[in-house]
Symmetry: none
Subunit: 94 residues, 4 copies
């Protein structure tokens, strides 16, 4: 039998079935929806920055290229740091 939610620890003994889990689920969905809204807000902000940059004469496409490069540089750096960290640990320098 497919159960919806576990309801382990349900304390609604005899109170009319299922609405607790329903509320719990609804709450979870609303949290996700709220977060998605925030994400959309951020995305819009990013668009705004690009628009502003464009209006100042910068090429959005070139900017995206630069962002990509910078991101790669950053992760390469983190990679190196991680390796160094392992070395230090191995040498008892941590």
């Amino acid at each position: 039998m497919p159960e919806v939610g576990h309801n382990s620890g349900d304390r609604d003994a005899g109170m009319g079935g299922g609405h607790v889990a329903a509320d719990e689920l609804r709450l979870l969905l609303e949290r996700v929806e709220r977060l998605k809204e925030e994400a959309k807000g951020i995305a819009d902000d990013i668009k705004d920055v690009f628009s502003e940059a464009k209006s100042r004469g910068y090429d959005p496409r070139a900017m995206r290229e630069l962002l990509k490069e910078r991101a790669m540089k950053r992760e390469e750096r983190q990679e190196r740091e991680a390796i160094l960290s392992v070395y230090r640990e191995a040498l008892g320098m941590e």
Copy 2:
């Protein structure tokens, strides 16, 4: 001639060319990077909610279905509003 940034009205006479635009550009890129970090944070939060829901016995896939349905309902409503708005405008009721 491909110009980088506008620099219309640059007043940094003789100070070493172009670093003002460079700073401006760097600032814009950093704003985008900051926002992208935030976006990633939000995305992680969403993942966390799904993980939590799953640990409580809810099916993530079903949740996504529900979210989709709810989103569709919402946008259908907005669609209707938009159409009414067009009608009102056409009828001079705006």
Copy 3:
């Protein structure tokens, strides 16, 4: 090894390699190009209809809204039909 096309079962023994796959590929590309041309023609026709409508005093934006509405109605109807079909089948009425 990156293979171009399958050429499994090539029977062009000694005839000069690869031109069969090349012809096959060329034919596929030409089919796509032909279809894209047709698609462009259709798109142009649609533009023409909107232009004509506009010249008769209809608002293209409102028309697009109406088209969207009608499409939604249609797919809702199809949805209902699908459900009914399932019911009929379940009831042995098919």
Copy 4:
């Protein structure tokens, strides 16, 4: 005053208002819908060709690249033709 449809030349004097424009509009919408259906058909055909190509071992992505190149070649050629045409005309060779 925003008028819906021009109705310039309406000959339906006193016949009950507006249905002529309504029919005209409906006809325009149906023409668009018909064309959109055709467009969808074409798009599906294109998908089919790519599917077939893929099943024969060709890489759809590479094919898209080739199509882009061929399109550029074609328009470059047309460009050259146009220039030559201008020259011919200027030289009275048309």
